[in-house]
């Protein structure tokens, strides 16, 4: 028994963007293979739960703008890279590839974030500015957490505070999905840690970070898809294939 669950995520393009893509001549697809059973479980759990959707129907028409598109690209790139990098720290540092693995996942995450941010910015400026506000709150919260830890740790520096801010802002930009993913992921990780003898405590934390990333990306993608129209059949899409072995 066994197989592969393939999930295709697509970002619709405008006519101008489609023309540019045709000019470039290639549409790239990116595949991600999730190998870890814990990651598979987390991924399926959070996709099924569909975290990140705001759950409200916009009564008024949303509009995008060039500024929001650029800002969305920047925020998506940043948050996607951060979420991908954080999620990959524990699993990648148990492979021979090490930092190469982390970089690969961070780049992949940046790509997903970039595509989502561009789409969202083109369609819904408010959503982008909301993401920035949440990122700002997240930065302050993350920095405050590390500041509060100062009396209790042997080594502490202002660089740690900045790092806490970076982590907090990427979670904030990811919206509720990231938070839900982090909490539920920690729970799943803690449970697996008790059940699987070879699993260490950092692995449990790693599952939490993976849940955070999955929830955050799902949140970005759902917001982007919700904000846009369905693509015309003759327009190309940027595709991301996620292959989950089971």
């Amino acid at each position: 028994m066994g197989g592969q669950l393939r999930i295709r995520l697509g970002v619709p393009l405008t006519e101008q963007e489609a023309a540019l893509v045709r000019l470039v001549g290639r549409i790239r697809t990116t595949r991600v293979a999730i190998q870890s059973p814990a990651a598979i479980l987390s991924f399926l759990l959070f996709l099924a739960a569909g975290p990140g959707s705001d759950g409200t129907v916009q009564a008024q028409e949303t509009t995008g703008s060039t500024e929001a598109t650029v800002a969305g690209a920047a925020m998506g790139l940043y948050a996607g890279a951060a979420l991908g990098g954080l999620a990959s720290l524990v699993p990648c540092n148990q492979t021979l590839a090490g930092i190469s693995c982390v970089r690969t996942v961070a780049v992949l995450g940046a790509g997903i974030g970039l595509a989502s941010g561009v789409t969202l910015g083109r369609e819904d400026s408010d959503a982008i500015w909301d993401a920035y506000r949440r990122a700002g709150v997240g930065f302050l919260a993350g920095s405050a957490v590390v500041l509060a830890l100062e009396p209790f740790v042997d080594r502490w520096s202002w660089a740690d505070v900045a790092a806490g801010g970076v982590i907090g802002s990427s979670i904030g930009a990811g919206g509720s999905g990231a938070w839900i993913g982090l909490v539920l992921g920690m729970g799943v990780g803690a449970g697996l840690w008790q059940v699987i003898p070879s699993m260490e405590m950092p692995d449990a934390i790693g599952v939490g970070l993976i849940g955070m990333a999955v929830g955050g990306f799902t949140s970005w993608i759902i917001r982007a898809v919700d904000a846009g129209d369905s693509p015309a059949s003759d327009l190309p899409v940027l595709q991301f294939d996620v292959a989950v072995p089971w």
């Binding site: 540092n93 693995c101 660089a159």
Partner: protein
């Protein structure tokens, strides 16, 4: 964030070079000797390295920020302590080497670990000048967080980094520094301090701490490898012991960093220990490019899992190593490991001899040991 991760690749270089009074520079594969470089004035700690450690070869990172940081930490430590010969004792020297050679790795928590008690109980080696020294087999101890109290340890220069003082003591018996243990037990010693143990003097004087090798066999070819800087100055201590038929076994006592700050962890993708290990491996390969000399590399890697990248890399570099195992040697963590490469030598690992010592003997780490034939 991407910029941080990619720029961090600029700061994760582990390129190494020999350092010392006669800098040997590698240029496009060729090696040229350069006498008395101007760099020694720039980094005064270079001169301190010579100290009383006759003939100790030094290796260190090429990258300037690493060398500056290492020099700052080095400025507060004393000189190398190298006593190449064990105390003369007819009963011990007659012990045949082919009865096996035990290598122990142990982080002794800056005096907390009872080395004398450990030697007596685990290796049946009595550290008493009144008793003839005898043991089942020769051994070497690769020690981390050894300390030394001495007037040769200088005042800490203004602004130089110094760790908080650790004054752990064994549950039974006095707190002995590594030199006192070597003298009491009649062992050969190579001790290279890596950092200061507090700024103020203790009962027996100012202290520094670092890694060491103690042995019942003479130590030759002493080497100190300053590792690429992450959170603290780390120095790997290397020496050789003689084997049967004129062969030699190289020993390396290592101690890697836990982590730098969180930003460093994010920026390097968690590869701090890999970088330090890559630097050490490169230095060892500079000494033995053919990888022909049998070598045991052991110590406190500060790993949180036996599956960590650095452990996997070392298993590749030292393919004759025992399986790392998941035994916890410090609390709920498995930071201590031993690796072995037989090379072209006559040494081999005795099967099933690799184990964790159950009793921590007052340290916060348990020792690991293995026997070689």
């Amino acid at each position: 964030m991407l910029v941080v991760i990619f720029c961090a690749s600029c700061t994760v270089s582990h390129r190494m070079q020999p350092v010392g009074p006669r800098d040997v520079r590698s240029q496009a594969g060729a090696v040229a000797m350069v006498e008395g470089t101007a760099e020694h004035g720039e980094y005064p700690c270079e001169a301190r390295r010579e100290g009383e450690g006759e003939g100790v070869r030094w290796f260190g990172p090429q990258r300037e920020p690493d060398r500056r940081a290492l020099a700052a930490w080095c400025s507060g430590v004393g000189p190398v302590e190298f006593r190449p010969y064990p105390a003369s004792d007819g009963s011990l020297s007659s012990q045949p080497l082919n009865s096996g050679f035990t290598v122990v790795t142990w982080n002794v928590h800056v005096g907390g670990g009872d080395l004398v008690g450990f030697l007596g109980d685990e290796l049946e080696y009595v550290c008493d000048a009144r008793e003839p020294r005898k043991t089942k087999r020769h051994f070497a101890l690769l020690v981390q967080e050894a300390h030394r109290a001495s007037s040769s340890v200088p005042e800490v220069p203004e602004g130089a980094p110094a760790r908080d003082r650790i004054t752990a003591a064994p549950p039974d018996g006095p707190r002995l520094d590594i030199v006192q243990v070597a003298e009491k037990c009649g062992l050969a010693l190579l001790y290279v301090p890596s950092m200061r143990n507090g700024t103020e003097a203790g009962e027996l004087g100012r202290e520094d701490r670092g890694s060491a090798i103690l042995s019942t066999l003479p130590l030759t070819e002493p080497v100190a490898i300053e590792l690429p800087f992450e959170a603290q100055r780390r120095v790997t201590v290397v020496a050789s012991v003689p084997g049967p038929g004129g062969s030699e076994l190289r020993l390396a006592s290592v101690h890697y960093d836990v982590a730098g700050n969180i930003l460093r962890v994010l920026g390097t993708g968690g590869s701090m220990r890999v970088r330090q290990n890559d630097g050490m491996t490169e230095a060892l390969d500079l000494m033995d490019p053919e990888r022909a000399i049998p070598i045991v590399v052991a110590g406190d890697l500060n790993t949180w899992s036996y599956r960590e990248t650095v452990v996997q890399r070392m298993l590749e570099t030292y393919p004759d190593s025992p399986p790392p195992g998941n035994e916890k040697t410090r609390g709920n963590w498995p930071p201590d490991h031993l690796f072995f490469r037989a090379g072209a030598g006559a040494f081999g690992l005795v099967e099933d001899s690799y184990r964790v010592v159950d009793d921590a003997y007052g340290s916060d780490h348990k020792a690991r040991l293995a026997t070689f034939y």
